[in-house]
């Protein structure tokens, strides 16, 4: 029989990470941003229904990955900074502003933090936008994937993405990509959350595990 070498289970001393899959894609007039829901500490799943899509403002969301604590803190700080900024300018903030605030924190505390946030949203000036802030760089992309599960879906997203996809196409793209990554990555799983943001508002959806798309070997 296995003997516990300490009185505490291993997972209590492992760092909690949202080893995860996150994805965001822009379409004409908005964005769709999605994530899985697994939070792991070593081999243990400490939260199987965590929503990793965090609102930074009414029409700007970010997706969290990497160390859970670092990512949550960054999102909270940027949420506060954006509120102050939007009061100062007297109107809704730009997605680029939100992304820049995230990037500033990522870059300044690069050595200490290990979290990556994808920022996506809609604003009046430039419509739907997706920004990556990996390692403290800031870049706008038509779509972005991140987290440990993203490695497995690079081929899929490269093959499936086309310019000019509709909102419905983008939602399907996000859900399929999440399902594929969740099937292959041990650190991703649970349910799929996705949020659709356009000029009319934000629409949050959750797809339960047994309703996710299935593939040939399931």
């Amino acid at each position: 029989m296995l003997e516990e070498s300490s009185l505490q289970p291993e997972w209590l001393s492992e760092e909690v990470s949202t080893g995860t899959t996150i994805i965001a894609i822009a379409f004409e007039g908005g964005v769709v941003i999605g994530s899985d829901s697994r939070v792991s500490a070593g081999a243990s799943v400490v939260n199987r229904v965590m929503n990793k899509l965090s609102p930074l403002h009414d029409k700007i969301y970010c997706a969290l990955s990497g160390s859970a604590a670092d990512a949550q803190t960054m999102a909270e700080i940027v949420n506060y900074q954006l509120d102050v900024h939007s009061i100062e300018v007297g109107e809704d903030p730009l997605v680029r502003s939100a992304a820049t605030l995230v990037k500033n924190i990522s870059y300044k505390y690069k050595e200490e933090l290990s979290a990556h946030l994808i920022v996506a949203g809609w604003d009046r000036r430039a419509g739907g936008q997706v920004y990556v802030t990996l390692d403290g760089l800031l870049a706008r992309q038509p779509f972005a994937i991140g987290g440990s599960g993203s490695s497995y879906i690079y081929g899929f997203v490269d093959a499936e993405y086309r310019q000019g996809m509709t909102k419905k196409d983008c939602q399907e793209f996000v859900v399929n990509a999440l399902a594929l990554a969740m099937n292959r990555d041990g650190s991703s799983g649970g349910v799929a959350y996705f949020v659709t943001i356009d000029k009319d508002g934000t629409d949050e959806k959750c797809i339960l595990g047994n309703k996710l798309p299935t593939f040939f070997d399931e």
């Binding site: 497995y152 899929f156 040939f216």
Partner: protein, 248 residues
Amino acid sequence: MLKCFTDNRFNTHGQRLTVHFDSPNLYGAVPEVSPAKGDPSSAHRPINTTTIMAVEFDGGVVIGADSRTTTGAYIANRVTDKLTKVHERIFCCRSGSAADTQAIAEAVSYQLGFHSIELDEPPLVQTAANLFKQMCYRYREELMAGIIVAGWDKRKGGQVYTVPMGGMLVRQPVSVGGSGSSYIYGFIDSNYKTGMTKEECLRFTADALALAMERDGSSGGVVRLAAITEAGLERSVILGNQLPSFSA
């Protein structure tokens, strides 16, 4: 024009981080493990960090691989043939250490030839796969070899067996291996269907390998394909400028 950018910083695990600006999607942060200077074990041996793939269809198999062999950052061979014959209708796709996999393939090829003479008929693919597995499992600590065995025999038709590092053996309808394989699991899972024809399998394999070569720095060059059926073997090559391209 985007230029290549190297950041000489280290991440929290002491590994050097490099962010590459050489593609429209700026996702290239890859930890580069730099061995300590003067460390003799860091002598860069040739490895096929690669992408290999095999697919079964009714009547045979299609196998494919990229063509890059690296020693460290240098590409020692940009037109490698990683699809190695071990018998008339049985091939293996090699990934990992070039020397290890070549030696294993030669040894198994010899054993299979001998076995086939004793039997007085062509060997089974399952036999070849088990010979690979026995060698890879027995010498698992010394070897760095990930092998996919595929071929055709009279008893079960087209078969694909994968023998990853560590020496397990399992039959799969479609199998990928090598460093580039991580990137195409999603593509394979969503695009594979049972009942594909030989031409569809060739197309599927070429697409998957092209996608992996696009994303994995250790895979590249040309795509080598082979279709193995009862009638025989058909080899083909897709050159770099003729590879399927994707809008991203």
